[in-house]
């Protein structure tokens, strides 16, 4: 089984998604040739930042076999907290952001209490939490858009490195690199993947899946807060009723993760593939916008993309299994095996 490095790359998700992205890019350029300009590239990257940051929350949780559906609502709430607190107190924005991020961490801890300690289904708990958080956000703002006047912070979103790359994008890239490194190279990262793959084995190997998941839930809340705060800088406001909440960036990140090969049974995946997934989805969304199609079509394409990707995976898997003379795992369709049902 000596497969050369280059062949492994050709087989990887990163490569497949890269090719798909290139195709989308080519088609868009064919249809509307003038779309490649600095303005569009900046906007596209801005969009990628918000969805992409969620990867560092969603993907590790998925790898460890659980899920957090409250991400987008958490982002909205922390955005509201950030903006309202800043406007009310006038404290330095860094400090206010820190408070909002800590709030996110606390919510993550509450999620973890229900899921890890009480052993309830992550799926249901975090959905309920999402209603609570979104509700609090609209109660605080009465669904009125609150402007943010922290120029020293919002101006960051208009600084571009080499006149093209937004500062936030660099922040996001660094975040992805750090998380990739943690997941691939550190003991903690390996144990995250391990406890998603085989619970019992992980526990017997002396790992503590409960502790790992608690940390990941807290991480998820904090990352969601960061995404919300960055979004408030991009839009210069906090909006509880539209934008961030409606677009459900954590859902997109979830789809991107699965596209990128993060198995939702836990236990496998890397951030590079998930990152390419975000690139593809956001590119597609922006391309549709450029071509004058409504944003909702993105949902249709994301859905189809997800189904096609999973089908290809399944077929490739069974072909490889046949080649190796193994019987493909006949778990049967329709099983509700899903993230958030794993028991610790």
């Amino acid at each position: 089984m000596n497969v050369s490095r280059s062949r492994m790359f050709l087989r990887s998700k990163v490569f497949q998604l890269l090719v798909l992205s290139a195709i989308v890019f080519a088609i868009t350029t064919l249809i509307s040739p003038g779309w490649v300009n600095p303005h569009n590239i900046r906007r596209l990257m801005d969009n990628m930042v918000i969805t992409g940051i969620f990867l560092t929350a969603v993907a590790p949780l998925l790898m460890s076999g659980v899920i957090d559906f409250s991400g987008s609502s958490m982002a909205v709430l922390s955005q509201v907290i950030f903006v309202m607190l800043f406007e009310a107190t006038g404290l330095p924005w860094g400090l206010v952001a820190l408070i909002a991020i800590i709030c996110g961490g606390v919510i993550g801890l509450i999620n973890a209490f229900f899921v890890v300690k009480l052993n309830l289904m992550a799926f249901i708990v975090t959905m309920a939490m999402a209603t609570v958080l979104a509700g609090i956000a609209s109660w605080l703002t009465r669904n009125v858009i609150t402007p943010l006047n922290a120029t020293s912070f919002t101006d960051l979103s208009t600084i571009w490195v080499f006149d093209i790359i937004p500062v936030f994008f660099i922040f996001f890239a660094i975040l992805i690199i750090i998380y990739s490194w943690i997941l691939m190279k550190t003991t903690f990262g390996r144990s995250v993947i391990m406890c998603g793959g085989n619970q019992t084995a992980a526990r017997l190997a002396g790992l503590n899946p409960k502790r790992i998941r608690t940390i990941l839930f807290i991480n998820s809340g904090m990352i969601a807060s960061i995404a919300g705060i960055l979004h408030s800088a991009q839009t210069r406001s906090a909006n509880a009723s539209g934008g961030l909440g409606m677009n459900m960036p954590h859902m997109t990140a979830f789809i991107a993760s699965i596209l990128g090969g993060v198995s939702f049974f836990g236990g496998s995946g890397a951030l590079a593939g998930a990152f390419m997934g975000v690139v593809l989805i956001e590119l597609l969304a922006y391309a549709l916008l450029v071509m004058g199609l409504p944003a909702a079509v993105t949902g249709l394409l994301n859905g189809i993309l997800l189904l096609v990707a999973m089908t290809i995976d399944q077929v490739a898997m069974s072909m490889r299994m046949k080649k190796l003379g193994l019987k493909s795992h006949g778990s049967g369709g329709g099983g509700a095996v899903m993230p958030g049902t794993a028991k610790t």
Binding site: F114, L118, N119, L120, M121, F123, I124, V125, M127, A128, M129, A130, T131, V132, L133, A134, G135, I136, S138, W139, R142, N143, M251, I255, I258, F264, P294, A296, V297, T298, G299, L300, L301, N302, G303, I304, L306, L307, M310, T311, Q314, G330, S331, G332, G333, G334, G335, A336, V337, M338, P339, T341
Partner: protein, 351 residues
Amino acid sequence: MGKVSGNLTASSTNNYAKVHPLKRAMRTKAFPLLVLFALMVIFFSIFPQIHVGPHAIFLRARTFWRILEALSVTGLLTIGAGMLIVSGGIDLSNGSVGSLAGVILATGVSANGWPWWVAVIVAVLASGIVGFLNAVIINELKLPAFVVTLAMAAAIPAVSLFMSRNEIGTFMGQINFRNSTLEAIGRHRIGEANTAALVVLALFVIYGVILARTKFGRTLYLMGGNRAAARLVGINEKRISYFLYINCAVLAGLAGLLNATRVGLAGAQVLVGEQFTGITAAILGGISFGGGSGGLGGAFMGIVVIRTFAQGTAISGASPYLTAPASGALLLLALAFDYFNTSRTNKRLTV
């Protein structure tokens, strides 16, 4: 795949055989919800009187008919979801399917000028087709139901949006429509009770009896507990799975139609998110993911509790902004309560 809980249930039924029927009823999942419901009724009978004034009366027949009416749309989603989850499946797309059915009805009646019954049939058929698609992808391509239906849930609103274009081709997202027959059906009342809500109640009873008392119902539990075993004892689990997905989608379609006829408004997103309420109600009623347990009685009590709370807070004059987070918190509370209840039961069984 083998589940230890199968053994546990078997021994627990033996255990139950000796206990008093009343005690047995108390041990069902519906019981704590019934207690919660009773507590809520007591609280909301007293609190608004003090807090708002003597005109804020909760304890009267009209309130309960209102609650029944409010839960009927979600109730249809709950039945479909509950049956599916018992058998080990899941459908996250039924909120989107319901919205699609509503949009088809609205565009059919208003823009295309179909007779109302044609629009209804087309909408129900379309919902059934989506359910069939779900079933095909899940059963033939063997993809996980969770992801398949999530993808569907993302894709369908786009289709609905495409359909809800106005004359100049702008995507409306929402369509108003008027049809006196449909309105009459959706708002028809027998006495104080909304007829459609009574039909939903009847459906709950019918499906509940099928699930609890018939051979088919038993099959679903077996499938949910251990699908491979179900296949080995000669159950055509694939056919049942097809039936359940289509059933779930058609019920969702009916929910969408009911919702649309009541308010005279349909939109691509109106029921999106409601599927989670349906699933949560099912879970509260003891239907567990991974299948094999629970019943529709508990699921019904689940939505009754959710809607009673909403109605009660409204009568108490709470800000409508507070109702949503409060009912979310209530769900979390109910889940935690359920946890402690279950762990107590388990302790008793192991001793």
